[in-house]
Symmetry: C2
Subunit: 145 residues, 2 copies
DNA sequence: ATTATAGGTAAGTTATATTGACATATTATA
DNA sequence: TATAATATGTCAATATAACTTACCTATAAT
């Protein structure tokens, strides 16, 4: 029988608070740049995913974001107005729309990311590779729980 | 000179996505219970902090949540209507108000927490103590970055 | 006496998301 | 070929959580 300190409620509460704060801080560092382009957190997340998954389809974006179509479309319309995304129909199944950041979009992403990544970069730089690997490992388990 | 894989942009992007998903999942498991009491994520966070820091002052709550007084007060008023929090003036400095969950509040917290903690508990149970310690270590560094 | 701190409130606004209903185009299948 | 399923879009109404700006009281510290 396991009887570990970190499985006790107090430690679990503490971790949950840290997960919240870690998220909030990670996604607030870039606020100034977002303001510069009059966009918000929702736009940042979409841009982030577009930079990771070039040409991702709408339905896959929806699945990753776990928001409704209506919610995503509001954001996409803003990004179209900003002229930073483009669409390409799938050549085989023309129902599917692939979304891409254009050059301007990639530049704006880099501006955002430059600020956002600092916090993570410094934390990892200050950690051993084993610590980093274990951080990733546990985070994955939390996600797939 | 460090030249580590996990300090590369692609890995940082990946981690940032995971931090987002980990937060979202961690705070969505308890949605059914929140609905039962007609409260939301903001209330859950306040209740969580009240269970961790019994008698915390308003200003310290504000500092932990990083929201405005108006925002917090909306939530506190809902919790008063639900009859789950009580206030006590500080005996020395009567400007300070200490906030507590009452018995009903503690019970509701336990209902919420029971659902919320499962994901974290299982992830930790499935990890070695070193992995857990390193997860906590890196998360702390991200927060304090 | 003055200033700072702790907390409260009012009005209006913004950001992000929801539900429900309906529409179109395309592809897959019986 | 008729029908069902999929991918996407849109309208309208609503909810949640936050914001800004401004002003207020009470108490404590200097």
């Amino acid at each position: 029988m396991k009887e570990l300190l970190y499985l006790k409620d107090d430690q679990l509460k503490d971790l949950i608070e840290k997960i919240f704060v870690g998220y909030r801080e990670t996604f607030s560092d870039s606020k100034k740049i977002l303001d510069k382009y009059s966009i918000g957190l929702a736009h940042q997340k979409v841009i982030h995913l577009l930079s990771m998954y070039e040409g991702i389809s709408i339905s896959k974006l929806l699945a990753k974001l776990k928001v409704t179509k209506q919610s995503l479309n509001r954001v996409l319309k803003d990004l179209i107005k900003l002229e930073i995304i483009v669409f390409k129909k799938d050549e085989i199944d023309t129902r599917i729309k692939h979304v891409f950041l254009n050059e301007k979009g990639k530049k704006i992403f880099e501006e955002i990311f430059l600020l956002q990544k600092k916090r993570i970069y410094n934390a990892l730089l200050d950690s051993s590779s084993e610590e980093v690997i274990n951080f990733d490992k546990v985070l994955k388990k939390i996600i797939n729980g």
